[in-house]
Symmetry: none
Subunit: 216 residues, 2 copies
Amino acid sequence: MTIRVLIADDQELVRTGFQMILDAQQDIDVVGTVANGADAVEAARRLRPDVCLLDIRMPKLDGIEVTRILAGPGVENPMRVVIVTTFDLDEYVYGALRSGATGFLLKDSGPTLLIEAVRAAAAGDALVSPSVTVRLLQHLAQPAVGAVRSLNDPLTERELDVVRLVARGRTNQEVAAELFVSLSTVKTHLGSIQVKLGARNRVEIAAWAWESGVVS
Amino acid sequence: MTIRVLIADDQELVRTGFQMILDAQQDIDVVGTVANGADAVEAARRLRPDVCLLDIRMPKLDGIEVTRILAGPGVENPMRVVIVTTFDLDEYVYGALRSGATGFLLKDSGPTLLIEAVRAAAAGDALVSPSVTVRLLQHLAQPAVGAVRSLNDPLTERELDVVRLVARGRTNQEVAAELFVSLSTVKTHLGSIQVKLGARNRVEIAAWAWESGVVS
DNA sequence: ATCGCCATCAGCCGATCGGCCGATCTCTCG
DNA sequence: CGAGAGATCGGCCGATCGGCTGATGGCGAT
């Protein structure tokens, strides 16, 4: 049972390179190559490959749009999509994975990982480039405790109480009421928090709280 | 520059198997093998390998404990740790990654991924078994697209631009500047956003954005 | 071509926030 | 005991935000 693969990339060199790498595997068969997003959608629907390799940067439709169309939420018979890109910007990663991609590869990953990513996708699994994974894990892995301690001037327990409420959208009045203190106290705490975090306003405090996992 | 690896596993067959696979690579050198967690800690400190391959199930100290000791938060000179296990239970994964592991492999992953995981770890990256990754991504993937559409009155593209900037702590002035519109326009958008989301202030907008994955 | 949606802009005003000064009380640590 | 840190409170004031009302132009659908 060979894995049928569609390659979509606007650079000819990349297309042929990938094709040579993949066709050299006995269990993988490249059934089509296209150079833009619109063709990718059409070819994917016609050829029904097991795995689609999509570049992010493509004319007409970018890889993320194509992913949404072929594998996004609400699509019946979603296809397996592996995103391949030169850029590892975070928004690409999240956008791709949220759109339904089951793989995310940087072009500098080497042929081995390309092959493994295709096999994983065909099996319904997902392989993500190690250099990207390490950042994904940081978001997921070491919440709260680490973030609070990593400040050169850590927040006190009471300040954390304030942070958590602010991050959920409470006004100073509401925070005061919920913590049974006066408005002044809340403002004092907020002042210290801003200094410690280097935040310019309460929304930056909230953003820090969400990013660091202090709230979730 | 060869990658120096320490293998810790209580099963002799696994140890020798891994050793054969890794030693066959020119760039990888197995510098030690141990059969329990306590020895792993000792050997890691003495040999200072570039990468430690740790089984989860080991006598004395399990792999996660060892990871915490060698690479956990607050450890200076943390080591690179790849967890290897037969079981892919979620608690193991989260426990391992939270403890500082930079890789998570199932024993059925095949030699290729083992080698790539070691190389990735040595480079400071992280490789996670595809079958595990796919579940990690499901935690990450769902929201966003869904969240925006699940509103009975969805946000427009422009409103999303505003949301994203607000969620990162920008003031209205700054949002206006970054989007090349006037302050009035930003305020108008914010008004509509608040109505649509049922938010009472900008921090609740930000909280929604973080929760739903519109920003991350 | 008229209607509705979207994006754009303006001004006004009260509420909230952010920055600044100050203060008292408690607790811990040396 | 004295020093320092943390939590508590008050007042003042300018900046920002939130709510309102209203207006213009583009663009697609009926």
